[in-house]
């Protein structure tokens, strides 16, 4: 089971945190801080795995990948495969986010916070990998996007445009 997905930048600022078992906010913060502490002390060209038992308790493994200014971190237990989890990050970033945002960057992730959550919900549900076909994920997300765009166009755009201009 996957325990958590975290995205943080190279300064340790959290960009996305999804814990599949509920944890209080303070605990989440502490875990992210500790993970960052380990991540930033890793030399280059080493493995993408970290012994995480001292942070997340027994039977926990951690896989991370570093893209530009962001660390993507997945924490899971022995029922998952490390290399496969690494590919899951790959799938999320390179095959999904890349397609959604074209040259995805840190700001895209911050600013489209709820969309990233939607994508993640399509891939992982309740801690289990649900979908690994990027086409399927994209299709599901597009469907929701379309709906949103439509709603915006119908009811909110005039108001929003005026408020936008008034600034």
């Amino acid at each position: 089971m996957i325990k958590a997905v975290m995205v943080m930048n190279t300064q340790g600022k959290p960009r996305l945190a999804k814990f599949f078992d509920f944890l209080p906010v303070e605990k989440q913060q502490e875990l992210m801080r500790r993970v960052f502490g380990v991540l930033c002390s890793r030399p280059e060209n080493v493995s993408n795995f970290i012994e995480a038992e001292s942070i997340f308790g027994p039977d926990s493994r951690l896989v991370y990948n570093h893209f530009a200014t962001l660390y993507f971190v997945v924490v899971f237990d022995s029922s998952e495969n490390e290399l496969a989890m690494l590919d899951l990050i790959q799938l999320l970033v390179q095959q999904t986010l890349e397609r959604c945002f074209k040259n995805v960057c840190e700001l895209d992730i911050v600013f489209n916070y709820s969309k990233i959550h939607t994508i993640l919900d399509e891939i992982i549900l309740g801690g289990q990998v649900l979908e690994t076909r990027s086409t399927e994920i994209m299709r599901a997300v597009e469907e929701i996007s379309k709906l949103e765009a439509a709603t915006n166009a119908i009811s909110f755009i005039p108001k929003s445009a005026s408020s936008w201009l008034s600034r």
Binding site: V25, V110, G126, Q128
Partner: protein, 955 residues
């Protein structure tokens, strides 16, 4: 750019994100966020907020909470949003609540109804959103509310919905297996879903079910194998390919399931061989995901019934992994090797170099994985290298969690495979030096025991060498700054015990070092206590060897400091030391024989040495002892202690009536007998001090101290001073100069020896089988005793060997009997007063016991025959013995004279007329001397150091 992906966000949010991103300090960031919280609080409660705005506020709240700030004021708004008709608003609401709330939150009750409704929606997107929420927000109590709808959705036309419904059901199973146990067959059915995605999702719950109960799913082996075969043969649509691999995530899950099903099942495993072999051949090892599948194959092969061909393929893949440049693959290779060596240990040989490379890799993760592999591979042939490496690594890391783990592994391996004791000691020294505060205190006790026991063979020479090398290494290590407390305790003990044993170092060398330790670690009372006791031993050995003792000035100043210490334990030790120095060589050799720490303490449980005195008293007209059960009325005082105990255990006033005196509980001394008490050679005023000291720090939760306090007041009023004073005067009158001069010290040492007996008992309990070995070695190696410089001591020791030999089986019996009577223990232990002896007198046949002392083989049976034998009599015996022992050295008659009076305190013995007939004080003085000496030798633990001590005894 906000609307780039279609998810509209406002400029305000962008500004917020930007300003947070540009914040230079945490404080600045906090200020910005707090501002934002204020703004949101104000705005969110305004009436008639447009939905779009509301949605944005909620997203901002989620963001703020992710940054670690409290956004709970907005939870209710998120909940309200889930009720909205618009899908978008609803989705945002669901997203927010899944992130904000846990399944037991009060607000969940407001959502369950909405979820129920949404699960029935015609719009599958609404259903999906609700299922997402179900996975996160439903707990055991709310499962029944949504279970029917979730079940219906298993047959939903949309595959995305079916998949999510399966996950929801899986989640229910995780939360409360019993609530859906009747529905698990649905997972089997969904395995045949015509959509491979749904089938793949079903593997997740099935994996978990199979992991919990393999046997119920053996029938599915064929199905799983055929699915895996189809997947591997690319029968699924191209859409499932990932990096040219057909549905790799499904393959991995299937291989994991097969590994579970085939474990230890030859028949099931045979069905799997072909398909796993196929995957080994077909798998593309150039892509990451291909290697993931290959790794999973190795795991599967190493778990199922072994097949030589598959093992060969697995070994090939492992060597490819290990030779790869990728650290990830090396890591997987090491991990896979660790799995495979359990089945075919020989494959490790060919990868030796690769493993060594990984050990030196800068990648910490890889290094740790490799140490894990080495740990699994350790044999007696390679233990030295491996442990050496592990310690080197342990020294280099800072992570306490991992340091502790690796230290305990080092200890475990060293204890299991140590090629020599010398190596073991050196290894332990290194572990202690660098992780001393992280290792278990038991490890320190084991080390001390090992040094004391030596090789357990008749090779005294080797033992001496071992000890000399230990002493030498410790003297060297003491030069290092900042040693861990546990290690210093070991060092002090060993230096005290063996520092001067081989003549290499003079007493002033060792004592100087010990004083340095006590000074350098002056905050650590335990270490100071160890150092003081060690000093006492060194001086005692010097005196016993009839060498002139010159106390170093620093030692003297240390003693002065300790004599005035706030710690009563330290103070007492200092007084003891002072007392011992004042004694003559013979006395010291008796109480502090050198190298006697391994010898068992023989305890005269029935106080047979008092028989003469009892006889005499009865002849003089004293009343014989009446067991408590036979007494009535007149001695209400006898259950005094019981009451106290009750009071203490309830921690307060007691309101219910006191119960009647119980039979077979120790009684107080009948007051009538006190009249006949001429001398009580027991310095009673010492009790209060000692009892506070020992009981309070070691069992703070036990109410023993309160109990003691109450009782002791009684003691002092009734029998305290008045009886004590004559005791001293008697020893004066018999011209015992030394005794007189150190009477206070004697008292202290007596008491301390009692305490030390407790302490020493703990290791004894732990190692009773070790003791047997020790006994055997001691037995054969009687030459050791001959080395003893004190001639008087020789005899005592020799006899102790005899006793000990036959005593070995007894020790375990003692342990058993101790455990059998836990209820009675607390009062006994804490009650250091006189009446303790009676219980033995009541329960053991003293006659038999006495015989046992003479013919030690019988002791075992005697003790065995008395299951209720309690520990307490030991104390008494020791106590009287010490008194006897000290006086004995000059005048044997005096001994009897002195020990006899203490019989008055033992009404139990008086009651046994047959005791007198068999009275034979022959072995007793010897026994008592030796006992006391051993007690002091064994006393390596200061009382405060051993909080578990009483736990052991109390069961």
């Amino acid at each position: 750019m906000g609307s780039q992906g279609g998810f509209y966000q406002s400029k305000e949010f962008l500004d917020l994100v930007k300003s947070i991103g540009e914040a230079r300090s945490k404080a600045e960031e906090d200020r910005i966020v707090l501002n934002e919280i204020e703004t949101l609080k104000r705005r969110i409660s305004e009436p008639d907020i447009p939905k779009r705005k509301m949605k944005e506020y909620i997203i901002r709240l989620v963001y703020i909470e992710m940054l670690g700030h409290d956004a709970s004021f907005g939870y209710i708004h998120a909940v309200k949003m889930t009720h909205d008709d618009s899908l978008l608003v609803k989705r945002t609401g669901y997203l927010a609540v899944t992130l904000f709330l846990n399944e037991d939150h009060d607000l969940i009750i407001l959502i369950v109804n909405t979820i129920q409704k949404d699960l029935k929606s015609d719009n599958y997107l609404v259903v999906c959103a609700a299922l997402n929420a179900v996975c996160k927000l439903i707990n055991e109590e709310t499962i029944p509310a949504v279970l029917p709808q979730a079940m219906e959705l298993l047959a939903h036309p949309k595959e995305a919905v079916r998949k999510k419904a399966i996950m929801a059901l899986h989640r229910f199973y995780q939360k409360s297996p019993s609530s859906v146990s009747h529905l698990v067959s649905n997972f089997r059915k969904r395995l045949c879903d015509n959509d491979p995605g749904v089938m793949g999702a079903t593997l997740c719950p099935l994996f978990e079910l199979i992991a919990r109960d393999v046997n119920s799913y053996k029938d599915l082996v064929i199905s799983f194998v055929s699915i895996l075969k189809q997947v591997a043969e690319r029968r699924l649509s191209k859409a499932y390919d990932y990096h040219q691999m057909p549905a790799p995530f499904i393959q991995i899950k299937l291989l994991k399931i097969l590994a579970l099903l085939g474990s230890g099942d030859k028949q099931a495993s045979e069905n799997m061989y072909t398909v796993v072999g196929d995957i080994f051949r077909k798998c593309d090892s150039s892509s990451n995901i291909g290697n993931a599948v290959l790794y999973e194959c190795i795991c599967c092969v190493s778990s199922i019934y072994p097949n030589p061909k598959l093992l060969e393929s697995a070994a090939d893949v492992i060597s490819r992994f290990l030779k790869s440049d990728s650290h990830n693959l090396k890591y997987m290779g090491i991990d896979a090797l660790g799995r495979l060596i359990k089945i075919s240990p020989e494959i490790a040989e060919q990868h030796q170099l690769a493993v060594i490379d990984c050990l030196e890799d800068p990648d910490d993760t890889l290094k740790r994985k490799t140490f894990e592999l080495l740990y699994k591979m350790t044999k007696s042939t390679n233990v030295e290298v491996i442990v050496d490496r592990m310690i080197d690594y342990m020294i280099s890391i800072n992570d306490n969690h991992y340091k502790t783990e690796i230290a305990s592994r080092c200890v475990e391996l060293a204890e299991q495979f140590a090629p020599s004791n010398q190596w073991f000691i050196q290894t332990m020294n290194r572990v202690f030096e660098h992780a001393g505060d992280l290792v278990n205190i038991k490890v320190a006790h084991n080390l001390m025991r090992l040094i004391a026991e030596g090789f357990g063979e008749d090779d005294d020479n080797a033992d001496t060498k071992l000890r000399s090398s230990a002493v030498e290494s410790y003297l060297r290590i003491l030069g290092e700054p900042k040693l861990p407390s546990v290690f210093l305790q070991v060092i002090c003990w060993v230096l005290g015990e063996y520092g001067t044993a081989d003549g290499m170092f003079s007493a002033s060398d060792i004592t100087g070092k010990l004083c340095d330790v006590a000074e350098a670690y002056s905050n650590d009372e335990t270490v100071k206590a160890y150092a003081t006791t060690a000093l006492m031993k060194i001086y005692a050995f010097e005196i016993a060897a009839r060498r002139k003792v010159d106390m170093l000035p620093e030692c003297q100043s240390l003693m002065e400091e300790l004599l005035a210490s706030h710690s009563t334990d330290l103070q007492q030790r200092a007084y003891e030391l002072q007392a011992v120095i004042g004694l003559d060589a013979h006395a010291v050799a008796c109480i502090m024989p050198s190298d006697a720490s391994c010898e068992d303490i023989e305890v005269d449980r029935d106080l047979s040495f008092l028989n003469d005195y009892i006889q005499e008293a009865i002849e003089k007209g004293a009343q014989p002892y009446i067991p408590e059960s036979e007494r009535s009325g007149m001695l209400n005082i006898s259950n005094f202690r019981n009451q106290d105990h009750h009071e203490a255990s309830s921690h307060g006033l007691r309101f219910e009536a006191y119960e009647l005196p119980k039979p077979a509980v120790q009684s107080r001394i009948p007051q009538t007998l006190i009249a006949s008490t001429e001398i009580v050679p027991v310095p009673e005023p010492m009790y209060p001090r000692e009892s506070y000291q020992t009981t309070m720090p070691s069992i703070p939760s036990d109410a023993g101290s309160a109990e003691l306090k109450l009782r002791l007041e009684g003691v002092q009023k009734k029998w305290g001073r008045s009886t004590y004073t004559p005791a001293t005067s008697t020893s004066n009158s018999t011209s015992q100069k030394t005794v007189n001069g150190t009477s206070q010290g004697d008292g202290a040492s007596t008491v301390s020896s009692m305490r030390e007996t407790y302490d020493s008992r703990k290791p004894q309990v732990e190692v009773s089988h070790e003791k047997q070995k020790l006994a055997a070695s001691l037995f054969g190696g009687s030459s050791k005793t001959e080395k003893s410089p004190a001639t008087g001591h020789k005899a005592a020791k020799a006899s102790s060997h005899v006793v000990e030999k036959s005593h070995v089986p007894k020790s375990s019996l003692e342990v058993a009997s101790e455990k059998a009577t836990p209820a009675q223990q607390p009062p006994d232990l804490l009650d250091l007063g006189e009446p303790t002896a009676t219980s033995t007198a009541l329960q053991l046949d003293p006659f038999k016991q006495l015989e046992g002392l003479l013919d030690a083989t019988e002791v075992a049976s005697a003790v065995n025959g008395a299951p209720a034998a309690s520990r307490s009599p030991d104390i008494m015996a020791l106590y009287a013995d010490t008194a006897a022992g000290i006086h004995n050295k000059n005048d044997a008659d005096l001994l009897s004279g002195l020990s006899n009076p203490s019989v008055t305190n033992m009404p139990g013995t008086t009651a046994m007329p047959q005791v007198t007939q068999s009275s034979s004080k022959g072995p007793n003085p010897k026994d008592s001397l030796e006992k006391d000496a051993l007690v002091r030798q064994m006393g390596v633990n200061p009382s405060s150091q051993n909080p578990n001590l009483f736990k052991d005894l109390l069961g």
